[in-house]
Symmetry: C2
Subunit: 200 residues, 2 copies
């Protein structure tokens, strides 16, 4: 089996959420897996000097409309969260803690966290809400709470976020296939051709 | 015939150049015309506080690679210009001068200017180069030179750029269909569905 493609995303990113509905099927179509790698856009923005979309005049207004319309276009259930964007430290820590022992279940957790935030308006920046989502998948709330606050999980998360930024992830989603990077759900057409042809 | 769709672009924008190869056929497929409306991204960036892509750390490096790959993906001839980005005042003035009397020929001029810059590395920020491109279409070099320097053309261009920014154009291309805005060549799929369905 070839190496997985890397799927970097922020839990606070609507376009990452939209891509999360497609990336596994797209990879599987070409005999690949997608390694889900949440990161923190806020850390990347420090490297690039960028600003969260909603804070940018004019472009921010456009973006809000585009997020909702793009979700409709792709048939993805979407409800603009009351708080947006959010700091996604808690869901990212919960993900990497679970991912260390069970990557497939960690993907289920990531999907559930994304759905909670972007379709049910659950503020997953609140650790207790992240824990409740995890508990909904049958994980022990006490275990998840302990993991989120464990220094080892914090260190692991920091290392993974640093690796994402080192890999060039400046936005979300950011997909890498053997060193070739694609930014945005709207590059999935190019991702597909890259997977199909080996590069163009 | 329904009202035209608005196609805002900057002559220095690779993604505007790519979209310029598709927008007329896309509009015509749904019985529409595209009104080409070049503007100056530099003026829009003052309103949004944005920075030209190449100056943004990390993202700028990605963008350069993405521009070339995206042109290949769409089968558009592309050669990264030696000077990029450029101030596109001269080509924009030449366009609006001609557009006032002959919009169809103005489109041909816009295509020729885009091709010169993005496939032949001609620096069209230099007025004499813009004039030479226009002369290649059979226009009088003296007429174009006089027009570019005419206060009436300068005023017309300023008004059009102000109208573009007032319409929300913060990036290029920026397409508006009866008030609904789409930013980026990578929203042409949504533009098409919008034209086909009347909105979604």
């Amino acid at each position: 089996m070839p190496t997985p493609i890397d799927f970097y995303f922020d839990f606070s990113s609507p376009y990452g959420y939209i891509a999360s509905h497609k990336i596994d099927a797209l990879a599987a179509k070409y005999g690949r897996e997608a390694a889900w790698r949440p990161f923190l856009l806020g850390v990347a923005f420090k490297a690039t000097g960028q600003t969260p979309l909603p804070q940018i005049p004019i472009k921010g207004d456009y973006a809000r409309r585009d997020m909702e319309r793009t979700a409709r276009f792709h048939g993805v259930k979407y409800r603009q969260p009351s708080r947006f964007p959010i700091a996604s430290v808690s869901p990212t820590r919960a993900f990497y803690w679970l991912n260390a022992t069970d990557p497939q279940r960690a993907k289920l957790l990531a999907r559930a966290l994304y759905a909670a935030y972007f379709s049910e308006d659950v503020d997953i920046s609140n650790a207790e809400n992240t824990i409740a989502v995890a508990a909904g998948l049958g994980l022990s709330a006490d275990d998840v709470r302990a993991a989120i606050n464990d220094q080892a999980t914090k260190d692991l998360t920091r290392r993974e976020v640093d690796k994402a930024v080192a890999a060039g992830a400046f936005g979300s989603p950011y997909i890498v296939i053997e060193g070739e990077a694609f930014w945005g759900h709207d590059r999935l057409d190019q991702v597909e051709r890259w997977l199909a042809t080996g590069g163009f």
